[in-house]
Structure formats: structure tokens, C-alpha cells
């Protein structure tokens, strides 16, 4: 019999194979402290403006539309055997959030974006069951990855933007872009720039896509299947399945991370 705890959380911490909860707690705490430390040290910590909250809200709305109305049905196009390799639902959310962090470029936007999305998803579909566990999961397993990258790049996740400490060599990167010349961006980002494919403005988004894509592919299976699923509803922990889905989702996250970062770089140029 499955026991029911508070708000639909089974509270099962002794499932065979589950990651011990102190490890998860310590990782989340250390990652947050580390984020705060780097952000503080290189001065990329800055206050959110009202328009930033608007951008995050808009991004969350797109994530909702994607996750509930587009993604699940795109997944039907994927041959079922390949479903663990490509999950359009989560990939689309990843790309949309990349665009949001490209526009806002402040430490905390990744976590805020996931938080807003999570509350919104509860309003639209999940009905606040299992909260606040899902909120914690999304903010600390996924959101923090993006924030660490923003902090590491001093508020220029895709090489564009005015970070707190402008360096002479960086300032001309964003300035060169034809700001909002047409307003139309091709999805592949192939029309950006006139130089070689990996010219300087493009190499940073590509690196950003790789650096954020890898932990995204790893964090989902490890934290959800390995810890939160048994905690929430007594899911079965199967480490073979976790490791398989980690490897399986890695290529798609890398590809979509790079594409998403290139789009994000373009969008943030257009929006200034």
C-alpha cells in the first residue's frame, strides 16, 4: 500500500536505490552558495527591473503553451523507440528559457523562470499537487545551471549584453549587431553574421549551448527518477534506466542547446 503524505507527497525516502536525501540537500545548498559566491565576486549580481519580470512571465507563457499544447503532440511524430532520445516537451522548454535568459541576462533568471513556469503549470494543469517539491526540483536541478552560466560569463550568457564589468574587448561584440534591422529571425540562426560560421559572436552561443545542455540532460534523470519520483509517488528507482536515459537524451540536449543559444543570441540582439 502506498502511503499518502501531505499534499500528495508520498514522502518515501527509503526506496531501494534512491539517492540519500542529505546528498541532494547538500548539492542544492552548495550549488546555491557557489552561485552566490561567483556572482558576488565578479559583480554580476544585479536587481531585477519590472520589465525583467515581464520577460520572464512571457517566457513562462510560451513554456506552458509548448508543454501542454504543442510538445506532447510533437512527441507523437517521434518513433516510439526513439522517445527516450528526443523529448520535444522538455527540449522546447529548454530553448524558450534560453531565449529568456538571453534577454534578461541577470543571475537568478533561470531559477525565477522555472519557478514562474512551475506555478503556472499548476494553475493550468497539475493543480498544485506535490508542491512545493516540484518547485524546488525545477529551480535547483535546472534553473541553477543557467544561473551559474550567467554568473560565470558576468551577465553575458551568449556574449551579448552589458555586464556589470564591461571589458574593452567585449563591448564591441553587441554593438556590431544590426539591432532590430528586420525583426525576423530564421530559426536556424544561419543568416546571422557574414563571416565564417564560427565567427566570434557565434562561438560563445555554441559554447553556452554545450555547457548548459550537458547538465540539463544529466540533471533530469538523476534528480527526478533517482530522487524526486520515489519521494513524490513511490516511483521505481532503476539505475540502469537512469543511466540509459542520461546517455539517450544527451545528444538532443546538445543539439537543441546550441540551436537555442544561437536563437537566443539573435533575439537578444533584436530586443537590445
Amino acid at each position: 500500500m502506498i502511503k499518502m503524505g501531505f499534499n500528495g507527497i508520498a514522502g518515501n525516502l527509503s526506496e531501494p536505490g534512491i539517492i540519500p536525501w542529505p546528498i541532494v540537500a547538500i548539492y542544492f545548498a552548495l550549488a546555491s552558495l557557489f552561485l552566490f559566491y561567483i556572482a558576488r565576486k565578479n559583480g554580476s549580481l544585479s536587481r531585477f527591473k519590472t520589465v525583467d519580470y515581464v520577460y520572464v512571465g512571457i517566457g513562462a507563457a510560451f513554456m506552458i503553451v509548448w508543454n501542454f499544447f504543442v510538445g506532447p503532440f510533437l512527441d507523437k511524430f517521434v518513433p516510439s523507440g526513439a522517445a527516450s532520445f528526443i523529448g520535444f516537451g522538455s527540449l522546447g522548454q529548454f530553448v524558450i528559457l534560453l531565449i529568456v535568459i538571453g534577454v534578461v541576462r541577470k543571475v537568478g533568471v533561470g531559477m525565477l523562470g522555472w519557478a514562474i513556469y512551475d506555478i503556472l503549470a499548476d494553475i493550468y494543469s497539475y493543480g498544485f499537487g506535490g508542491e512545493p517539491i516540484y518547485l524546488i526540483y525545477k529551480m535547483f536541478a535546472f534553473g541553477i545551471i543557467m544561473d551559474l552560466w550567467i554568473a560565470a560569463t558576468r551577465g553575458k550568457p551568449f556574449g551579448i549584453g552589458s555586464g556589470k564589468i564591461p571589458k574593452a574587448s567585449d563591448t564591441n561584440v553587441g554593438a556590431k549587431a544590426p539591432a532590430g534591422s528586420s525583426g525576423f529571425v530564421s530559426a536556424s540562426g544561419a543568416s546571422a553574421g557574414t563571416g565564417s560560421f564560427l565567427s566570434k559572436p557565434k562561438i560563445i552561443p555554441v559554447i553556452a549551448g554545450i555547457v548548459m545542455g550537458i547538465p540539463y540532460a544529466i540533471a533530469g534523470p538523476i534528480f527526478f527518477t533517482g530522487f524526486f519520483a520515489p519521494l513524490l509517488y513511490g516511483g521505481i528507482v532503476d539505475w540502469q534506466a537512469i543511466i540509459f536515459s542520461m546517455y539517450a537524451s544527451l545528444p538532443s540536449f546538445l543539439i537543441f542547446g546550441i540551436i537555442g543559444s544561437l536563437i537566443a543570441a539573435r533575439v537578444s540582439k533584436v530586443l537590445g
Partner: protein
């Protein structure tokens, strides 16, 4: 030997499972239909007057009941909640779209699970079971990850998993259709969520309908300009999809540009300027809310009774 008819049936079932939800989504509902079931419209029946907090509690309790009971309880609740749609403004239309949406979700997730449930999962779900084989797939279906046979138990298991989400989805949409974003946020304020986050959620809730509207427009304009017009009309869904993908990033840019104005106008009204400048008023609780609360309590009692009667959920989810 596997006969031609069997092959035909296998492929028919496969294509139905994949195609039916897609057809319903793109053809019958469309982005406009989604907009209708996710946006508030003014009307004055029972559900519109109930406090959103109670509706959130209702959704949570539905979730609780569905996850702790056998699958057909979830099915009954799904139908019950959906039938409430008839009391809304343009009730018949909303019931129609809502049912289509739930049906397609159901068929989609049923066929997303049933052919793939492994024997080992099923033996955890139903200890000491003897598989009742319904259908044997052609051996090459294994390439797609299909199990060799489709069992009754696999269907039961998938049904239970599918109905877990549909009842909750239907009741959550009820909340969105009968309350304005500001009413919902005034309720969330009770949970001490900071004002900027509430503001952000409100922007998001307003934007969802814009996203659906603009995407729909973008797709139609691209079709009008001749996208896919030289090809067979049976390929139309593919071009619909291409148009949606091509329209996505421009739609994001368009809406985000408008977002700048939203930010500026909130700032000029002094949002967050001083500590007491922005405030949120809570929604009052009235007599109708107690009726709704009574329904919620009945659901909880029912849940306990069902579990005592032995129709509780005993299966783990994967």
C-alpha cells in the same frame, strides 16, 4: 505464420494511436480551441462565483483521490468534472473542446504507455499475474521498442496512468476558465508569494492566450501566402507544423517587444516603487464557497471509503 490481416490490424492500431490525437488536436481543436478553454470569459453561474482558493483545493483533492484509487474512479471523476463545463458560458462548445482535448490526451498517453510496459513492471504492479494476451505484434515492431505482446494488464496499467492526469487537467482548466488572472493571483497572495512573482505570473497568464492567438494568425498568414499550396492537401498537417515552427521565434520577439511597454507602464504607475505602493486585496469567502467545500469534503470521505472497500491504488508508477 503471421497473416496479412494481422499485419494490417497491427499497423492500423499503431497509426490510430499516433494519428488520432494529432488529427483531433490540429483539425478539430486548433489553437483557437485551446484559447477558448484557457481564457476567462465573463458569466455568472455557480462556478464563476466560487472563490478560486476553493477551486484550487478542489483540484488538489481530485489529484489526491485519483492517485490513491483504482483507475475507473479517475475515469468517473474525469467525466464528472468535464460535465461541469456545460454550466460555463458557451458551455456546449467548451464541453466539446474540453472532451476532445481530454480524449486525445487519453488516447495519446494510453498508446504512449501500453505497448511498452515491460513484463517486469507489470509483475511489480500485479504480483503473480498470468498475462492475458490480447494482441501479438509483428516481430519487427520490436525496433520501435514494442513489447512482443499486448496484455490486458498492460492496458489496465496504462489506463490508470492516463486517467491520473486527465481529471486533474480538467479541473485545473475549470479554474482558468472561471476566474480572471487577478482573482487567481489575489488567492495565491494568501500563500505569501512575493508581489513581483505574482506580477510575473499575471503577465504569463495574460500572455498564454496571446501566444495561442498570434501563433494561429501567423500560421494562417503563412498559409495564405501560399505555404504548401502546391502540395497535396493530405500534407497540410505537415505544413501546419512547419508554419507553427517558423512562426514561433517571430511570435516570441513580437510579444516580448510589447512586454517592454507593459514593464514601463507598470513602472509609471509606481509598481514596487515603495514598500506600501503595491498591495493585493484578498478575495472574500461567501456562502457558495461552503457548498463547494462540502463537495470537496465528500470527495475526501469517498476516497477513504473507497480505500477501505479495497479499491485503492496498489500499483507504483514508473
Amino acid at each position: 505464420m503471421y497473416s496479412l490481416l494481422d499485419t494490417f490490424i497491427s499497423w492500423f492500431v499503431l497509426i490510430f494511436g499516433v494519428g488520432a490525437p494529432l488529427y483531433v488536436i490540429f483539425k478539430a481543436i486548433g489553437f483557437n480551441g485551446f484559447r477558448e478553454i484557457t481564457v476567462y470569459s465573463k458569466y455568472n453561474t455557480f462556478l464563476y462565483r466560487v472563490n478560486p482558493a476553493i477551486k484550487i483545493v478542489f483540484a488538489v483533492v481530485i489529484m489526491m483521490v485519483v492517485t490513491t484509487t483504482i483507475w475507473w474512479i479517475g475515469a468517473i471523476l474525469t467525466v464528472a468534472v468535464l460535465s461541469l463545463y456545460i454550466t460555463l458560458e458557451h458551455g456546449k462548445r467548451k464541453l466539446y473542446i474540453g472532451s476532445l482535448f481530454i480524449m486525445s490526451t487519453l488516447v495519446g498517453s494510453l498508446w504512449g504507455y501500453a505497448p511498452f510496459v515491460t513484463y517486469s513492471t507489470l509483475s511489480v504492479v500485479f504480483p503473480h499475474f498470468t498475462p492475458d494476451v490480447i494482441w501479438t505484434w509483428p516481430s519487427y515492431f520490436a525496433i520501435m521498442g514494442y513489447q512482443h505482446v499486448l496484455t490486458l494488464q498492460a492496458l489496465k496499467y496504462s489506463f490508470q496512468i492516463s486517467f491520473r492526469s486527465t481529471a486533474i487537467m480538467a479541473s485545473a482548466l475549470l479554474l482558468v476558465m472561471t476566474n480572471t488572472p487577478s482573482q487567481i493571483l489575489r488567492t495565491l497572495h494568501r500563500f505569501h508569494i512575493p508581489d513581483p512573482i505574482l506580477f510575473s505570473i499575471m503577465v504569463a497568464m495574460r500572455t498564454v492566450s496571446f501566444v495561442l492567438e498570434y501563433l494561429n494568425e501567423s500560421i494562417k498568414i503563412q498559409m495564405m501566402r501560399g505555404l504548401g499550396s502546391k502540395h497535396s492537401k493530405y500534407l497540410k498537417p505537415i505544413f501546419f507544423f512547419i508554419a507553427a515552427m517558423q512562426g514561433l521565434v517571430p511570435t516570441i520577439i513580437h510579444i516580448m517587444r510589447g512586454g517592454k511597454d507593459t514593464g514601463i507602464s507598470a513602472d509609471t504607475r509606481g509598481f514596487r516603487a515603495t514598500k506600501k505602493r503595491s498591495y493585493v486585496e484578498s478575495t472574500p469567502i461567501n456562502r457558495l464557497d461552503y457548498y463547494m467545500l462540502a463537495i470537496v469534503v465528500i470527495l475526501v470521505v469517498m476516497d477513504v471509503a473507497i480505500n477501505i472497500m479495497g479499491f485503492g491504488r496498489t500499483i507504483p508508477y514508473n
